[in-house]
Symmetry: C2
Subunit: 188 residues, 2 copies
């Protein structure tokens, strides 16, 4: 039985360097505020406001390091507030995802696409994947107990030697199961 | 295989008549805006603001008819915004539930308890319950498909001749499964 620690992702944004400079100024640098669960990933000091046709959410945290394309990950609760309908997608799979306006201290920009609801996923090392006979890209199910016991299906397995074992869900998913970061779920 | 229509409950409040009069004035009457899925239940025109130690949510819909005790049903997303920790409870089971301040157009009042995260539940008639060998108060599991396929456990069965068949969940639960009102889930 494999127990996997939960990592709850609040809404956040990954930026490409060009978009970062448009929002924060050409001379700005991304400042690390806190390391995250996955090695090399960090929460930055910088925040942006995100604006949809029905509403704005202020102070959305930028994560680093820079990526090739800017990507906004929100909950479906957030999506209703903004008035957009982002698809459920794996990170980086942005074709046809939802548009959004970003406002930073030095400028604003409109992304034609880039907003997703993150596909729930497990980060796992190759050794552990081999032990449990799992392959990269496979869909599995995980369960948790408690007053809102749930079995999450359609959980994407992502395998890399650079990963720490973690089950990533957004705040809606965490709340529907009464889960917090650091709780554990069980692989079915 | 029993298919059950989903009813997504947005945050709402049930009031006892005394609390209604404190908030809206002694001469006020509860005005029906729209009938709800369960016979006799309705959304009222009236709304109140609910205030916790960390934030306020404006315009929370009052449901009718009046109840014996006031009860506020919110999502865990809302609870974090308000700064309170309501328990997962069946409707009416309010002992030790979370406190809240209510603000209406004619006055304000502090509930020492009354805020809950609603236990997900199925409304069902005795005939259907008999056919599926279910009893009032039993816990069952229901599943849905799609990009966020889920199995909800700890689903309370509530049986009455006055009920329409419906699976009630809050917005966090709906969003974690990409469900909307009128979608169907399957009894396991």
């Amino acid at each position: 039985m494999l127990e996997i620690p939960v990592g709850v992702s609040n809404r956040h944004i990954h930026l490409c360097q060009e978009d970062f400079e448009a929002l924060f100024g050409a001379d700005s640098e991304l400042s690390k505020a806190k390391d995250l669960g996955q090695p090399g990933q960090f929460a930055a000091e910088e925040k942006v406001d995100i604006c949809g046709p029905k509403g704005t959410i202020k102070g959305v945290r930028v994560l680093g390091p820079f990526r090739g394309h800017s990507q906004v990950e929100i909950s479906r609760t957030d999506a209703f507030k903004l008035g957009i309908s982002p698809p459920v997608r794996d990170s980086g799979n942005l074709a046809g995802s939802a548009p959004i306006t970003l406002n930073g201290p030095a400028g604003s920009l409109q992304l034609k696409e880039g907003v997703i609801l993150a596909q729930r996923h497990i980060h796992m090392t190759p050794d552990l994947a081999k032990q449990y006979r799992l392959t990269d890209g496979q869909m599995v199910s995980v369960s948790c107990d408690g007053p809102r016991a749930l079995t999450f299906h359609q959980v994407l397995v992502r395998i890399s030697p650079a990963y720490s074992l973690e089950f990533h869900i957004d705040t809606d998913e965490a709340n529907s199961a009464m889960l917090n970061s650091g709780d554990v779920v069980t692989l079915e």
